[in-house]
């Protein structure tokens, strides 16, 4: 409806109590607006957003055959939805509406009534000029494939997979190892309640392996992902030892992806002066777990260690390596003190830490119990790491550790036969490949970025891709399981809806204008642009498009049109600002 003669615009000027009216002469504005071409009526009202205000719009649309509405009031953030719904209930397409913000951008920020009134006229005039070019837009919906791809067979991946499969959906679970369980399978007992990790896992692994709705791909990885939410095609390939090569590729159709690729432990050899790899009895926490699971805590020489020292924050909370806290090591260290003491009540344990982080449920009690078990706690200053020496033959221990003990302020030397390094968590080397494949972002440390750190902790900026567990950030088992179930719940909610609504405000390629220069192809932050090799033109997947307009601005041929933000609409609005 570009022809101005067909346009019948109703303009409503809100007083917002006195919020607007005390600074803007609304009657003068209404008088001005009445004289603008295409305006059929202009009204002022105390509260346009109130029910009577909205009813007035609905009635006017019906009685005066309005086909465009402008409301001059507060920010569209505040009430655009309100007025759009008023248009809908009057049977008018909700996009034939425009708001002029004469409160936040006018009455609230000005002190001169005359100037504020003039500015209000200009803002409303701009909105009127724009709304003339508005078009009826409809949102679309696309089908949601109920199958789900879960990447990673650790506790997070298995939990999510079972949740989804138990609800009746087909789950493809991809695991790069030849067994399930992930990092948790390397652990003996869990802190703080000392439940057996094996017990936690065995039940789940058995259920998954026997589940009709779960298909597990061992020694495999995701090698390709195309499509968009509800309609992805994933390629899964068998690993064959070569990093960039997979074989026996299988293509599966899925609607959503949950990434649960976990963490890898910090390489202790990077902190050279702890001598890991050189001193035989300096081991990592995971190596100790292995001994505990085998039931024998011994030194390389096969002796039961009398003195065991546990050093915290290896690779964590350091400017040099990772600045973040790995969250689970403090409690795990306490668990080791407990396990070593149970295995050999004669042993002496020193726990060398920076700060004792006991933030979780039951953790503080666990710390209290451990300190009563006669563990020697020594605090060291960040970046003033303990120094490990080889002991002399006259000492009754293998090594001596020098600690600048922070609380006493003294240099303390403690004996050790076995030193356990509490290695922190870090992002896996291949996390970048996964991020690229599923189009999600990573932070400076390589962890996957959530859509909102507080309100959207398992969603990502790519619709249909969720993240859970320690691939997002270091966390303990309860948090990991909670995230896995949260991600599964998000996916289930979408599956139960059966389809996804696509906002009407997306960008589209005008096919007979696109010449296939491909300048837009890599610009889309949502990967919504694909190149049609047959037609030799670019195409926007509307279900993926968020209407940000990057491609619209960048298209040198003006072949991409941003719905509701066309050049014509925006330029008319700009011109409208300068007419008054």
């Amino acid at each position: 409806m570009e022809s101005n003669t067909n346009c019948r615009i109703g303009v409503y000027i809100c007083m917002c109590g006195t919020n607007i009216a005390k600074m803007i002469d609304v009657e003068s504005v209404a008088k001005f607006v009445s004289s603008v071409p295409n305006v059929v009526l202009a009204k002022t009202y105390k509260y346009m957003c109130s029910n009577p205000g909205q009813e007035m719009i609905v009635q006017d649309i019906k009685e005066n055959h309005l086909n465009r509405v402008v409301v001059a009031a507060c920010s569209p953030n505040m009430h655009e939805r309100t007025f759009r719904s008023a248009l809908r209930s009057a049977g008018l397409n909700q996009y034939l509406f425009e708001m002029a913000n004469i409160r936040e951008q006018c009455s609230w920020v000005h002190k001169d009534t005359e100037e504020a009134t003039l500015k209000a006229k200009e803002l409303i005039n701009a909105a009127i000029k724009r709304v003339v070019y508005h078009e009826e837009l409809e949102s679309m919906s696309v089908a949601m494939c109920p199958n789900v791809l879960v990447i990673g067979g650790g506790i997070a991946g298995m939990t999510a997979a079972l949740e989804l499969a138990d609800a009746g959906n087909l789950v493809y679970l991809v695991e790069k190892e030849n067994h399930l369980g992930g990092n948790l399978a390397r652990v003996d007992l869990t802190a703080p309640y000392l439940y057996s990790a094996r017990d936690l896992l065995t039940e789940r692994i058995t259920r998954i392996m026997n589940h009709k709705q779960v298909q597990v791909f061992f020694e495999s990885r995701l090698s390709g992902l195309t499509g968009f939410i509800g309609n992805f095609k994933a390629t899964i390939g068998k690993l064959n030892g070569e990093p960039d090569n997979v074989t026996n590729q299988v293509e599966v159709e899925i609607g959503n992806v949950i990434v649960c690729t976990g963490f890898k432990e910090f390489d202790a050899a990077r902190i050279v002066h702890y001598g890991y790899g050189k001193l035989p009895n300096v081991i990592t926490s995971f190596e100790l777990e292995k001994m505990i699971r085998a039931g024998r805590i011994i030194t390389k020489e096969g002796k039961t260690p009398k003195y065991v020292a546990i050093i915290h924050c290896v690779g964590s909370r350091s400017q040099e390596f990772h600045t973040y806290c790995s969250r689970v090591c403090c409690m795990t260290a306490l668990k080791y003190a407990h396990e070593i003491k149970s295995a050999n009540p004669e042993s002496y344990i020193s726990d060398i830490y920076i700060d004792m982080h006991a933030f979780g449920k039951g953790h503080e009690d666990f710390y209290k119990r451990s300190s009563e078990a006669k563990t020697l706690f020594l605090m060291y200053e960040k970046d003033d790491r303990p120094v490990i020496h080889k002991a002399s033959p006259k000492d009754d221990c293998e090594m001596l550790i020098e600690v600048n003990e922070k609380l006493s302020g003294e240099l303390i030397e403690i004996p050790a036969d076995l030193v356990v390094l509490m290695v922190g968590m870090e992002a896996r080397e291949d996390s970048h490949d996964i991020a690229r494949l599923v189009n999600i972002s990573q932070d400076k440390d390589g962890w996957f970025i959530e859509s909102h750190p507080k309100l959207e902790p398992v969603a990502t900026t790519t619709d249909g891709i969720f993240i859970a567990g320690t691939c997002v950030a270091p966390k303990d088992i309860p948090d990991t399981v909670a995230q896995a179930r949260a991600a599964a719940a998000r996916v289930l909610a979408r599956i139960s809806k059966g389809k996804i609504e696509v906002d009407a405000l997306f960008s589209e390629v005008i096919e007979d204008k696109c010449s296939g220069c491909r300048l837009c192809n890599q610009l889309c932050p949502y990967n919504a642009i694909e190149f049609d090799d047959v037609k030799k033109i670019s195409h926007i997947i509307s279900a993926l498009c968020k209407g940000c307009g990057v491609c619209v601005a960048a298209c040198p041929s003006a072949a991409i049109r941003g719905r509701h933000f066309t050049d014509q609409q925006v330029l008319a609005q700009v011109e409208g600002l300068f007419e008054t």
Binding site: I510, D512, K513, C514, S515, G516, C517, R518, L519, C520, N521, Q522, L523, F531, V550, A553, A554, C555, P556, S557, A558, A559, D567, L571
Partner: protein
């Protein structure tokens, strides 16, 4: 060709132009015989001894078709634009200057004062100690002498008078002119008024046979002489700015075929308001740097961006000219 029909009355005029457009009309070569058998050339300063007075004496709408080339830079150009509009049934803006302002339009990056000062006082070859400038009117012993007034703005034809059609190009391709001419002579259905004719709807990339991929990541822009063009990869992917994606096809992509990037003389495709701005935002999208300083460095490699992106279109662009 003409049959029994009365012959078409044809005029060709140059305003602020280099003469290339008139030569492109002459480039019909032997087809000129077809042209003159179908049309009488009633006014064409480059080829015929006709005077402005002759045009002034014509009845209104006497001329069937006028090909007006050149931009409107001075009062003489404007006078002739208005006169020919009045005397012509169909007025065609012929060539980039009439279409968009063209190369003369780049003068809008300077003011009249800057141009006159530079030309009459500062140019290295000029000695003008009295700082004498040309004036539109001068009274001499012999009487009053007049020269056209030099305007501050260069305008395209449509910024001065109502234009029926546009034939783009610097200069337009002669074959495309013949197509349009034939269509008019044979009475074929003409496109709506205001259309660009003698050109295509898509951009240069549609015809360009160079290999194009999505891999357009640029860390440095080069001028064509700074790199060895491989002859087959999209210029942009090699870091050479090519106006092709923002430029209407129809010239036979001759520059690109000659291994030179497109300069943009055919103007934007329909719907693109400002090809210079369009191309700049497209270029911004392919700069492969994250840090602001690095991005600035890449942009600084682009020599004379105003002249590059607005080479033919400054007077009709959104910015139109340098603010005084």
């Amino acid at each position: 060709m003409a049959g029994d029909k009365p012959k078409l009355k044809l005029a060709v005029y140059w305003a602020a132009a280099c003469g290339g457009c008139c030569v492109s009309v002459l480039d019909v070569h032997e087809k000129l015989f077809d042209v003159v058998s179908a049309a009488d050339l009633v006014f064409w300063p480059i080829a015929l001894d006709t005077k402005y007075e002759d045009v002034e004496n014509m009845p209104d709408k006497y001329i069937d078709l006028t090909l007006f080339n050149g931009a409107v830079r001075n009062s003489e150009n404007e006078h002739m634009a208005r006169l020919l509009r009045k005397k012509s049934k169909t007025l065609v803006a012929y060539g980039s200057c009439a279409h968009m302002g063209g190369i003369p339009g780049l003068a809008n990056f300077s003011t009249r004062e800057e141009i006159l000062r530079r030309v009459f006082e500062e140019t290295e070859s000029v000695v003008n100690t009295d700082k004498i400038r040309p004036v539109p009117e001068y009274t001499a012993k012999e009487g009053v002498l007049e020269i056209p007034e030099f305007y501050n703005d260069v305008r395209s034809l449509s910024l001065v008078v109502d234009v029926d059609y546009y034939i783009p190009g610097c200069p337009p391709q002669t074959e495309r002119l013949l197509e349009v001419f034939t269509a008019i002579v044979t009475g074929a259905e003409l496109p709506p008024k205001g259309s660009v004719v003698g050109a295509d709807n898509k951009t240069q990339c549609e015809e360009c046979t160079r290999k194009k991929s999505e891999n357009k990541k640029i860390k440095k822009f080069y001028r064509p002489w700074e790199i060895k063009d491989d002859g087959e990869t999209c210029f942009l992917e090699q870091g050479v700015i090519c106006m092709g994606p923002a430029t209407r096809a129809g010239c036979g992509h001759r520059c690109i075929k000659g291994n030179a990037p497109c300069r943009g003389c055919y103007g934007p495709p329909s719907g693109a308001i400002d090809p210079g701005a369009k191309m700049m935002s497209a270029i911004a999208g392919i700069i492969d740097e994250k840090e602001p300083e690095e991005i600035s460095r890449v942009i600084e490699d682009i020599a004379d961006p105003g002249g590059y992106f607005y080479r033919f279109s400054l007077p009709v662009s959104l910015i139109r000219r340098k603010v005084q």
